[in-house]
């Protein structure tokens, strides 16, 4: 290195210091760190990072307007990292006042010890009526006689179809409107009717494509009468019913009825109108609305097994422990407000958890949400388990191997069951005091 550099290192140091200070001040102002206020501050964390977050922001703005003594600020973190951030912040006592948890994760995060008793939401002024939910849905927030939170919505998996493609393939009702298939036979026929082209040509069109493989498989579990865990909490992932469900999904790939697993068309293919039907969550509606490129319909997942059914999840609003009474009161008030306005939340591509919201005339105009809501009597939640993340990992891996034909459905699920049971056993040993 030469020493002929004639620049002034002092200037570099002062320059760095100047930028450091200026950006520091600027970001403090931008993030509102300087605004002092005597309002009760409520932070609300969730993973609504897409168009759904904008809908939620609208509800929060209304709440802040209607409640001048409270200031709710929303913090959105992509679901992929949301839970680890939440847990750590929560167990450090600096987490948000109100936060969302998917109902299958409730026990996992309850164990971390920062979830406040949620019963005040269901009593007092503007109480959320407990009987305004289906019992199966409300059961998800009950644990050992306590309430863990308030269900905000239900997001079942259903079928999205491209209306024009259905029509062109002649899948219509008596008056000529496109009619999504309802049964196994209708589904297979529709799938074949919409297929066009062969090989790997760019203009190839598919009737159906797997999107979220694991969710596609899990949507069929209740249809075949399968389940995840038995009454004692042991894994029964490899039951004959589950094998039958996976055999159907993997069979579609094996028979080349869906795009090859390596090609990754899935949801994107549906958006590009290269795929006629997909099964996905009601929340994907936001994406379709945004691109606004073609006519689509929502309908229940066709009955492939012996009876109708699908997978679903719910966002649950929870309160953190360790809040001041004022904050706790405001948090309860906020949750009541959001729950009461859940018909607005339905716009984001959700089925409101509250029955009364689903009776709102506005809901009747939401074709996709309403069609997906038809399935609510037959939905199946992923079981609440403290080790649900690990169990889902095992299931995802099995589906991956099954669809790619690397293992038979039976082998893949046997292995998943072994992995899941090992995790469950480890958890029983580590946490004997906290077993569902």
């Amino acid at each position: 290195m030469s020493r002929r550099g004639s620049f002034n290192i002092h200037a570099v140091i002062f320059g760095l210091a100047a930028v450091f200070v200026v950006t520091g001040v600027a970001r403090t102002i931008l993030t509102g760190g300087l605004s002092a206020s005597n309002k009760v501050q409520i932070t609300f964390w969730n993973g609504f990072t897409g168009p759904d977050g904008i809908v939620m922001l609208g509800i929060i703005d209304e709440f802040n307007r209607d409640n001048p003594d409270v200031q709710v600020t929303m913090q959105r973190i992509p679901w992929g990292t949301y839970y680890n951030k939440l847990t750590v912040a929560g167990s450090d006592g600096r987490g948000p006042a109100v936060f969302i948890i998917h109902c299958d994760g409730l026990l996992r995060y309850r164990r971390a010890g920062f979830m406040e008793d949620a019963s005040p939401i269901f009593s007092g002024q503007d109480a959320v009526p407990k009987n305004d939910f289906e019992p199966y849905v409300f059961d998800q927030v009950k644990y050992r006689g306590k309430l863990l939170g308030c269900p905000l919505d239900i997001h079942p998996y259903g079928m999205f179809t491209n209306a024009d493609m259905l029509k062109r393939a002649g899948i219509v009702d008596s008056v000529g409107n496109p009619r999504p298939p309802r049964t196994r036979n209708e589904f297979i026929l529709a799938m074949k009717a919409m297929m066009k082209g062969t090989g790997s040509g760019t203009d190839r069109v598919w009737g159906y494509a797997l999107t979220d493989w694991s969710a596609n498989f899990r949507s069929l579990i209740p249809q075949f009468g399968g389940r995840y865990l038995d009454e004692k909490g042991n894994a029964v992932l490899n039951s004959p019913e589950n094998v039958a469900a996976m055999t159907f999904i993997a069979g579609l790939a094996k028979d080349h009825l869906v795009p090859p697993p390596t090609n990754g068309l899935g949801w994107l293919g549906f958006r590009q109108q290269k795929v006629g039907m997909v099964w996905d969550g009601v929340f994907m509606l936001g994406d379709l609305k945004r691109i606004n490129a073609f006519k689509y319909l929502g309908s229940p997942i066709p009955t492939i097994g012996s009876h109708p059914g699908t997978a679903a999840n719910s966002h649950v609003m929870c309160i953190r422990t360790g809040l001041s009474p004022g904050q706790r009161g405001a948090a309860v008030r906020f949750i009541k407000y959001v729950s009461a306005h859940s018909i607005e939340w339905a716009n984001a591509g959700q089925v409101p958890a509250r029955l009364s919201a689903r009776r709102d005339p506005r809901f009747a105009d939401m074709q996709v949400q309403r069609a997906f809501a038809e399935q609510v009597p037959h939905i199946m939640y992923v079981p609440r388990s403290p080790v649900i993340v690990e169990i889902m990992n095992a299931i995802n891996l099995a589906v991956d191997q099954g669809v790619r034909q690397l293992k038979t459905p039976e082998e893949a699920l046997n292995r998943a069951n072994k992995l899941a049971q090992a995790v469950i056993d480890r958890d029983r040993q580590d946490h004997p005091e906290d077993q569902p």
């Binding site: 290195m1 550099g5 990072t49 912040a89 590009q272």
Partner: protein, 274 residues
């Protein structure tokens, strides 16, 4: 080699250099395409030029506050560089010029810790920063970086080469040790400190795993984490995510255009005997 062959070879190498640039050029062009064209490509150059991707990014202050992430990145990178440069110079001066007792031991410890991979510290630092209530603040990205010993090692190597007569003269003139440090040692070490500053700044600007682990709020992300998480929410919208990515790289690309010689010479020197 004959002159003709030389010229052909030069052009060949220029072509190789161009190959390296192709991805960036295509990226640049693609950010001006509409989504429909991206999903159904027919040519590299957009059929219709559209600024909608950039408009959307710059207007989506809720989903992708890229302006704020840029501020955060500057704050963190400048802060880290500032502290690393000053602390490294201070310690190197104390060890090599003042020759404090215990200096050699400190130096050996510092060199030894340089061998430990950053991954080893990730979990413990996370717990320590949590205790210090520093998680989810930009300071969690600045202060831990100051413990790294590379700068001390590098500046010490350089300072050893400065003849003692320079500072002795200043001391005789009535200058204090701090005065010697600030007015004489630092300017003399200018090239080494500049190199250290370049390395530290680029490293801090492009760091991915630390902000991924140590920040929580969208408003505290730096650019790399911000765009990666934005991409995970909008993974299928290539025009949008490519535009964000390109914007995140612009400050360093400008810096490179200006300081190309210094940056490359600094990094190429790392494998050489001095």
């Amino acid at each position: 080699m004959r002159k003709r062959t030389r010229e052909v070879f030069n052009i060949l190498m220029l072509a190789v250099g161009a190959v390296f640039m192709i991805p960036l050029v295509i990226m640049f062009l693609t950010t001006f395409k509409m989504e429909r064209e991206i999903l159904d490509p027919s040519a590299v150059v957009p059929r219709t030029w559209s600024f909608s991707n950039y408009e959307q990014v710059l207007n989506s202050t809720v989903e992708a506050p890229i302006q704020l992430w840029t501020l955060n990145s500057f704050f963190v990178s400048c802060g880290t560089t500032l502290f690393v440069v000053i602390l490294s110079a201070m310690v190197a001066f104390a060890i090599t010029r003042i020759q404090i007792p215990g200096g050699r031991v400190l130096m050996n410890v510092v060199v030894a810790t340089m061998m430990m991979p950053a991954q080893l510290f990730l979990i413990p630092l996370y717990m320590i920063l949590g205790r210090m209530h520093m998680l989810d603040t930009p300071y969690a990205l600045i202060f831990p970086a100051t413990a790294n010993g590379f700068g001390i090692f590098m500046v010490s190597q350089f300072m050893q080469g400065i003849p003692p007569s320079v500072e002795e003269a200043a001391l005789i003139d009535g200058c204090s040790f701090l005065g010697v440090f600030w007015k004489i040692a630092i300017p003399l070490c200018g090239p080494a400190l500049a190199t250290l500053a370049v390395f530290t700044f680029i490293g801090s600007w492009n760091d991915y795993i630390t902000p991924l682990v140590f920040t929580e709020s969208v408003s505290n992300y730096t650019l790399p984490v911000g765009i990666a998480l934005f991409q995970s929410s909008y993974s299928t919208q290539y025009g949008l995510t490519l535009a964000t990515s390109l914007l995140s790289a612009v400050p360093l690309l400008i810096a490179f255009a200006v300081f190309q010689k210094q940056i490359i010479e600094a990094s190429s020197a790392s494998g050489l005997k001095d």
